[in-house]
């Protein structure tokens, strides 16, 4: 890999300043994705700013039933937290469905959000990729895309976002805390991750130097009945073909509220807003779930070899909601 400098700032402000010091600075969390990309030559930072040791490694329950999650919290610790397991099973399940135990022990929450697509072309520097080299082309559109996007893609990029955790957080509408050159701000999810459009090289709305310090997951009592369902060829250690995070609030046989987000289908974790809208106030039946799923999946534009994801997503959405609906 290309030689790089390494710094370990004492606090967030120092980290942001350090990151602005070098033209290709990157933050280092658990390194489970970035170090791989450096070995592959996909990422070539000239400076690594190690933020894993900053004091953002705690999970705090707020008085109103919400959660404040530090950006440096390890994925395993978040999955094991009682307030996650008890009140937000879809988040715990999403975390535990991802990667391997070793990787979850190292990976941070902020790093998980900012991991890059696993599109094979993106990871191979001997081939073109608009996300890696803007304007070089997207071989996946005509090439191998069986596990790439069906929603929200563009003529420039059909990659998917690989995170499971981010799908559950998108269903929750988590708020991302950012410390940046211009101070602190919050970004809601969805909203952190972009769709590719004509600038697929930009994954998120973050600006240079922006550091994710944590997240707020506001209270969502009905998420105590929630679920994350991930479909993949092998039983573990694989990215989703399709995944569904869903929470359902049913009263007297009617859907009062719901949250649904999809993974493995788009450049960003995909909040199924049309589905949610179509389902609120409807009877909690498989027929309603299927109609609502169709309302969302009508937007899908499959590529030559990934149309299977539409019936797959539909079936898995319906089943997940049916299991939650009792």
């Amino acid at each position: 890999m290309r030689p790089f400098a390494y710094r370990r700032p004492a606090d967030a402000r120092a980290a942001v300043e350090a990151a602005l010091d070098a033209p290709r600075a990157m933050y280092l969390g658990g390194g489970t994705n970035l170090v791989d990309l450096m070995r592959l030559g996909v990422a070539e930072p000239d400076l690594l700013v190690d933020v894993a040791g900053l004091p953002y490694d705690t999970i705090r329950e707020t008085g109103d039933g919400g959660l404040e999650i530090g950006g440096a919290v390890r994925n395993s610790d978040l999955a094991a937290h009682p307030a996650v397991r008890r009140d937000r099973p879809m988040l715990a399940q999403a975390l535990l469905s991802a990667a391997s135990g070793q990787i979850r022990n190292a990976a941070t929450v902020a790093g998980n959000l900012l991991q890059r697509t696993r599109c094979a072309y993106f990871q191979d520097v001997s081939k073109p990729c608009n996300k890696r080299i803007p304007g070089s082309g997207c071989p996946a559109i005509e090439g191998d895309h069986y596990n790439l996007a069906i929603l929200g893609h563009s003529a420039h990029c059909v990659a998917t976002h690989p995170s499971d955790m981010a799908v559950a957080l998108t269903a929750f509408g988590a708020a991302v805390h950012v410390e940046g050159p211009g101070g602190r701000r919050e970004i809601g999810m969805p909203g952190l991750h972009r769709l590719p459009g004509d600038r697929p090289e930009v994954d998120t709305v973050l600006d240079p130097g922006d550091l994710i310090t944590g997240l707020t997951v506001r209270p969502l009592p009905f998420a105590a009945r929630s679920r994350y369902r991930k479909v993949r060829e092998r039983a573990s250690f694989a990215f989703a073909l399709v995944s569904v995070a869903a929470a359902l609030d049913v009263e007297d046989g009617t859907v009062r509220d719901c949250r649904v987000a999809l993974g493995g289908v788009a450049h960003a974790p995909w909040r199924a807003e049309r589905l949610e809208e179509a389902l609120r106030g409807r009877p909690a039946t498989e027929g309603s779930y299927a109609e609502a799923a169709d309302a969302e999946l009508d937007l899908a534009e499959p590529l030559r070899d990934n149309a299977y994801k539409i019936p797959l997503a539909r079936k898995v959405i319906v089943r997940t909601l049916a299991e939650l609906g009792g």
Partner: protein, 687 residues
């Protein structure tokens, strides 16, 4: 009696404690590191290699490319003629190498080497009607490509179907690694190989050196599955060239990604099966037509159709092999080459025939047992397939198998499948030396290879038994070409070949001790089995087995999981129950991957295998491996070899994918004829 006992691996503690040194972990003074630069076109010529930027990196020692690399004496095998010509035959071919003080520097500089090409169009996609299909002169290892006998007759029931398997990559845990050390005109290669002696001979020929001046050491090898067989892979040659060039020891470790282009793989296949039978399931005619690929760099004709030549009785029989020569990496051996893909097709077709005849698939196979080997006409040395099938059916609860597509448990369709397994049982000549050590213990030496199978342990047991002493008093030295000649670990022939020589050497030493009147240090006996093997009687020697699988197909997602598999094997005498079980179960797990998760995906535009790492090429993980069990018959085969063993390294994978595929059919009622069977293909066929 040590033979058969479930002895722990004799080097087990060394391995778990990190004391066992693999090739890439050997330490020598002054070592430097080489990294290969690979072609970024699939077909054409290298015009120029510009290493200016790479050479400017501090710590870079040299850059080798065609034109300035040391010459090889033998360039007849293009795959191994590394840096000897500007021709590029496949994407990923080695076109240059960077040697540097550290691995990190070498990898950094590798990316700075600029190679320009004259690119020609490439042809990388195997299709069943490829215009370039041809009949090879022979198929591996040395058999006719086509066979035909008997007259076709009108059949009451017929099956005519084509199966498709993708390319598969071996993916042993330890990537190929080499440490090349020249001392004057002597070369020592610490190399991750399945056969130190054969590797030495092959490298000596390539380098134009007498074999005595080359030594290959491979004390521990982290798996191979055929990918570390002989002829060597180009990385070993490159390491030797780099070390010669820079005049220092050079370490070259192949990356996982590079393994998808330079260390072999299993060809994709299209296999057409035609079986005609009477209504009661007796096969009249059977045909197996195989279409495979080979590389323009070197021909390898996988013998997928040979199983149909010997497996079942039939009045007429026809097998063919056709190859397309493509601009692809060199395909080669992967666990049970030939038998593995061939039995997937044959045993799937037998399942289809059973259904067409309305006969239980176990019974169908029993009805078609041949009396003699249909291929050679020789008697079988032993053939206990029927017992394997019957015992397996009873243990597995086969009688509760549902009608296709009828058993539903919650959100799952459940089904069972069966397939037969077979693998040849052969032995190759070997030599061994048994000796009384200074402390009165025994040392047995042979250039055998333990590629994770436990061969060192089994040989220790064989030696101890033959000497009549406890295993603790025997030390077996292997993995070094300087030891008495042993053939490579391949074709499930390792233990039979090495064990035979070890047995004879130890028997001889025991006699010598008796004659001398005591175990005097320095007493020794050498054995060579070539005469005995040459004079073996004419038998058809094969192992047999029966594979049973239960699958659960998720009706919502199409995900397939395998809660139970059972393999029952008749594979000769088992030398070590613990190690044998690992081999059988390991083969079955690999078959599970073949059936459901593994697939090397050809990138048609660029001409390489795209999913070139373990995150994208899905070998089964622990969570996929649920109730897999393997049992075996007590089956010493006196006609196989004096030990009665038949080899167990490969038969575990044979038939496993067919059993799972047949179970998926039983569960869903739909016949999937392309592997792997995974959600994208299953979803359209779910209720």
């Amino acid at each position: 009696m040590e033979l058969g006992a479930p002895l722990d691996r004799v080097e087990g503690w060394d391995k778990v404690a990190g004391r066992a040194r693999y090739s890439g972990e050997q330490r020598v003074a002054g070592v430097c590191h080489a990294v290969a630069v690979q072609a970024e076109i699939a077909h054409g010529e290298v015009l120029a290699v510009d290493a200016t930027a790479a050479r400017a990196v501090p710590g870079v020692i040299d850059v080798l490319a065609y034109g300035d690399a040391p010459a090889l004496a033998d360039t007849s095998d293009f795959e191994l003629a590394v840096l000897q010509s500007p021709r590029v035959a496949y994407r990923g071919q080695i076109v240059a190498a960077v040697v540097a003080e550290t691995l990190e520097i070498a990898r950094h500089a590798q990316r700075l080497v600029r190679v320009t090409y004259d690119e020609l169009g490439h042809d990388v996609e195997l299709t069943p009607d490829h215009p370039g299909l041809y009949r090879p002169e022979k198929i591996s290892p040395d058999d006719p490509p086509d066979t035909g006998e008997g007259e076709e007759t009108p059949a009451e029931v017929s099956v005519d179907v084509t199966y498709e398997t993708p390319a598969f990559h071996n993916n042993p845990m330890e990537p190929h690694a080499t440490l090349a050390v020249w001392e004057g005109d002597h070369l020592t290669l610490y190399d991750s190989t399945q056969g130190a002696a054969a590797q030495r001979d092959a490298l000596a020929a390539l380098l134009g050196m007498p074999a005595e001046r080359v030594r290959v050491v491979a004390h521990h090898v982290g798996g191979g599955f055929g990918s570390k067989g002989v002829p060597p892979r180009p990385n070993s040659v490159l390491a030797a060239l780099c070390a010669r060039r820079v005049g220092r020891p050079v370490k070259l470790a192949v990356t996982r990604q590079q393994m998808f282009s330079i260390t072999g793989y299993r060809t994709p296949t299209f296999q057409r099966m035609r079986i005609g039978a009477s209504k009661d399931g007796r096969i009249a005619d059977i045909e197996h037509h195989v279409i495979e690929q080979t590389s323009t760099a070197r021909e390898f004709a996988e013998q997928s159709g040979v199983v149909t030549r010997m497996m079942y009785a039939a009045r007429a029989r026809r097998t063919t092999h056709r190859l397309a020569r493509l601009d692809v990496p060199v395909n080669s051996w992967m666990r049970a080459p030939g038998e593995c893909p061939g039995m997937y097709a044959l045993e799937s077709a037998m399942d289809e025939l059973a259904e067409a005849c309305g006969i239980d698939p176990v019974e169908l196979r029993i009805r078609n047992e041949p009396e003699r080997d249909p291929d050679s006409g020789n008697p079988f040395s032993s053939r206990r397939l029927v017992e394997c099938l019957r015992l397996g059916a009873e243990r597995f609860g086969w009688s509760s198998r549902p009608e296709p597509g009828t058993r539903r448990e919650g959100r799952h369709l459940v089904g069972m499948g069966v397939a037969a397994a077979t693998y040849p049982a052969a032995a190759r000549p070997a030599q061994a030396l048994a000796r009384v050590a200074d402390d009165g213990s025994f040392t047995v030496s042979i250039a055998a290879a333990d590629i994770g199978t436990g061969a060192r342990t089994a040989l220790t047991q064989i030696a101890a038994d033959a000497l009549g002493v406890p295993v603790a008093r025997v030390r077996v030295e292997i993995g070094d070409s300087a030891l008495p000649y042993g053939p490579l670990a391949g074709g499930s022939m390792g233990n039979a070949s090495w064990g035979w020589a070890v047995l004879r050497a130890c028997e001889g030493l025991r006699d010598g001790i008796a004659r001398y009147g005591g175990a005097e240090p320095g007493l020794e006996c050498r054995a060579d089995t070539s005469g005995e093997i040459k004079n073996q009687e004419a038998y058809a020697r094969h192992s047999f087995g029966a594979q049973f699988a239960e699958v659960r197909v998720d009706v919502d997602s199409g995900e397939i999981r395998v809660p139970r598999m059972l393999g029952v094997f008749a594979a000769g005498r088992v030398m070590n129950a613990r190690l044998a079980r690992s081999q059988f179960v390991g083969g079955m797990v690999m078959g599970l991957g073949m059936a459901l998760t593994e697939e090397s995906r050809m990138d048609r535009e660029f001409g390489d295998y795209l999913n070139h790492d373990l995150a994208q090429y899905h070998v089964p993980v622990n969570a996929d491996v649920l109730g897999i069990d393997a049992i075996w018959l007590d089956d010493p085969d006196p006609h196989a070899n004096p030990l009665g063993g038949k080899g167990i390294g490969e038969i575990g994978i044979v038939g496993a994918a067919a059993a799972i595929g047949n179970a998926v059919h039983n569960a869903t009622g739909h016949r999937f004829r392309r592997l792997p069977i995974s959600p994208p293909s299953v979803i359209p066929h779910l209720p």
